[in-house]
């Protein structure tokens, strides 16, 4: 394993930050539950790839970023967008194809983008944003603005050549980009062991890139590791590759219900009941005296109100005027 070994303890994280982790994770969970509901009630067109189960990664990484840092996201991207500061109102509006959405209804669930929060865009080509993230990091270095770029991708992207071309360029030119591999174990409907030869982090180590593998269900651990490598990149020491082990509670997309042919129910149950990032962090907050159950419930209640209002806003919002179809093709 190359690079520094970060083992800053969670006690170094302030109380407000610890509570914010919880709030952000619950926000994503509640958002995605409403996406599931909208989709199954046929109010949401297209496809819905839920991030439920993986919340600690987006939150742990994005909480370690500055607002002007960059992220690129994936088809399973709602969590990244929210964690980077997206508004649930504009997110839901986009998911429903409404004019008020982040992309005026032209992008949808898989293409949320927002310059205001440094979100270069979710990408529906697996591995497709590796170049964009690396290029943004290149621009940061050239323009000397100190920004770091995060490239989120699932372990399914490990089969795409572009990822390795970008890792080579990133390390060759010491670019401030962090490749964050969210390893949820499944490339769509196929276990990653059936698609992935050799070592995951060994791929990056071959380029001389610093790597780390950690528990993606522990938000404090994700944050601590991400912070270390983000600051390392910001100081000019180059990229890192972080693999976080996680699990996708739902199917590949909302319609993927009969999953027994590719993964056992017992496995799903084990992650949901034993390794849920929201539950684990809530229990940690209570057992370490950071918050009691009532405080956590209050956080959740406020978020439920906010998310329900966001859904209401989106449902009531108008669709784009037909005249918009030929706008924004060219700048």
């Amino acid at each position: 394993m190359s690079g520094v070994k970060p083992k800053a303890s969670a006690s170094a994280i302030g109380k407000d930050q610890l509570l914010r982790f919880y709030k952000q994770m619950v926000a994503i969970r509640l958002f995605e539950e409403r996406v599931n509901d909208l989709y199954t009630r046929a109010l949401m067109p297209g496809l819905a790839h839920l991030y439920i189960g993986e919340e600690a990664i987006a939150v742990g990484v994005c909480e370690a970023l500055r607002k002007d840092d960059y992220v690129t996201s994936t088809h399973r991207g709602h969590g990244h967008c929210l964690a980077k500061g997206a508004s649930p109102n504009l997110m839901f509006a986009e998911l429903l194809g409404k004019e008020a959405g982040y992309c005026k209804g032209k992008g949808g669930s898989m293409h949320i983008a927002d310059p205001g929060t440094g979100n270069l865009g979710a990408n529906a080509i697996v591995g497709g944003s590796a170049g964009i993230a690396t290029g943004a990091a290149y621009a940061s270095k050239y323009l000397k603005n100190g920004r770091v770029a995060i490239c989120f991708f699932g372990e399914g992207a490990l089969g795409q050549g572009i990822l390795y071309e970008e890792m080579n360029l990133a390390q060759l030119w010491k670019l401030p980009v962090i490749f964050v591999c969210e390893n949820n174990g499944y490339n769509e409907y196929t276990h990653f062991s059936e698609s992935t030869a050799g070592s995951v982090t060994g791929r990056a180590q071959g380029f001389g890139i610093a790597t780390e593998t950690a528990d993606g269900q522990n938000v404090r651990e994700v944050y601590t590791i991400a912070s270390k490598y983000i600051e390392r990149a910001r100081s000019g020491e180059g990229p890192a590759f972080l693999e976080f082990k996680t699990y996708r509670y739902h199917g590949h997309h909302v319609g993927d219900i009969a999953r027994a042919y590719y993964r056992p129910k017992a496995e799903e149950q084990e992650w949901v009941t034993q390794r849920d990032p929201v539950t684990l962090h809530g229990e940690w907050l209570m057992s370490n005296g950071v918050a009691d159950r009532a405080a956590l419930d209050a956080i959740q209640e406020a978020l439920i109100t906010e998310m329900d209002a966001a859904v209401e806003f989106a449902v009531a919002s108008p669709y784009p005027d037909p005249i918009r179809v030929t706008e924004d093709i060219y700048a």
């Binding site: 960059y70 690129t72 959405g101 982040y102 992309c103 005026k104 209804g105 032209k106 992008g107 293409h111 983008a113 927002d114 310059p115 270069l120 865009g121 990408n123 080509i125 497709g128 944003s129 590796a130 170049g131 964009i132 993230a133 690396t134 290029g135 943004a136 990091a137 290149y138 621009a139 940061s140 050239y142 323009l143 920004r147 770029a149 050549g161 572009i162 071309e165 970008e166 080579n168 360029l169 060759l172 706008e327 924004d328 093709i329 060219y330 700048a331």
Partner: protein, 333 residues
């Protein structure tokens, strides 16, 4: 030394392109150029010789042989405030960068509801008869022309190449420029040394005529002009129109010319089938149908992989005598 007036020199096609890049790099520090062997080597065609000496290796950047990688990097750099020029040695390598160009660069502005921009130039080459065989000789400019969100330049003269290239660098959209590699040294012409730009989407009438319109792009403009000279000797007055960009496309100038002459041939070095000639012929047909005295004809590259052997390769590209023959047939002369 301060210039007091615009000097017009004879430049080669290649030197005009280098001058455009150098001027834009002097004007805007966000403009960088990256590609394989672009720095000390000055590209494999030696078109950029001397550029790295002026701008250094932080702005004229040698990349690994990794076209998709550095094109993708260019997309992100453009989104994050740079104006990169991505050098793709051969247009045949368009295949390698297609996802970055088509699914990323072309769509980001639209998909983001107009919030992100990709001000990037991809420069690459086209053209056969260099004995480079099937993977280094194609003219694939129809491909990006097919995709909404991209702009495509296909210049034929040094003057046009400089003015259009400078416009591309200043454009807020991804622009692909196809440079005809045989033209780099072979084609010379007058080029002002000042800061002029040619807007994308404006055709140029290279020769006025009254009997037939020859619409030609890139290398085929010289072929059309040669054919026009031959036609003049048999009493046919040919007008040569160069669209200069396949998108945006100056449909009006093409249609007006065809309306005036009532006959039209479209000549291009790309493949004829499902290609640029088909599109332009269709534009003329739809726009000038009731003025036409004959069907619009097309001459494109022969529908074969470009062969190596000179005797075979030369057969695949439209020639002056082919244009001459088709024009005489259309004019009944």
């Amino acid at each position: 030394m301060a210039q007091t007036a615009t000097a017009v020199r004879e430049l080669t096609f290649g030197d005009a392109i280098k001058e455009a890049i150098a001027e834009e790099m002097r004007r805007d520090s966000r403009v960088v150029l990256m590609g394989e062997d672009v720095a000390e080597a000055g590209t494999t065609f030696k078109v950029l010789t001397g550029l790295v000496e002026e701008f250094g290796t932080t702005r004229v950047i040698d990349t690994p042989i990794s076209e998709a990688g550095f094109t993708g990097l260019g997309v992100g750099a453009a989104m994050a405030g740079m104006r990169p020029i991505i050098d793709i040695m051969f247009g045949d390598f368009m295949t390698i960068i297609m996802d970055q160009l088509v699914n990323q660069a072309a769509k980001i502005h639209y998909m983001s509801g107009g919030h992100w921009k990709v001000p990037m130039v991809v420069r690459c080459t086209m053209g056969a008869t260099r004995r480079s065989a099937a993977q280094h000789s194609q003219s694939l400019h129809a491909w990006p022309s097919h995709v909404p969100g991209l702009k495509v330049i296909v210049p034929s003269t040094p003057y046009d190449a400089k003015g259009l290239f400078k416009a591309a660098v200043r454009d807020d959209n991804p622009v692909v420029i196809f440079e005809h590699k045989i033209s780099y040294r072979k084609v010379k012409g007058p080029v002002p040394d000042d800061d002029y730009i040619i807007p994308l989407g404006v055709a140029d009438v290279k020769r006025e005529g009254t009997d037939i319109t020859l619409i030609a792009l890139s290398s085929m403009v010289q072929v059309a002009l040669g054919a026009a000279k031959m036609l003049e000797e048999v009493g046919i007055s040919a007008e040569v129109v160069d669209p200069r960009t396949t998108w945006p496309l100056d449909e009006k100038t093409l249609i007006e010319s065809a309306k005036k002459t009532s006959r039209c041939i479209v000549i291009d070095e790309g493949y004829g089938r499902y290609g640029v000639t088909g599109e332009l012929a269709s534009v003329v047909q739809e726009g000038a149908f009731y003025y036409l005295d004959a069907p619009v004809r097309r001459l494109g590259a022969m529908h074969v992989p470009i062969p190596f052997s000179p005797s075979l390769e030369d057969m695949t590209v439209p020639t002056e005598s082919q244009v001459f023959d088709v024009a005489r047939e259309l004019c009944n002369k």
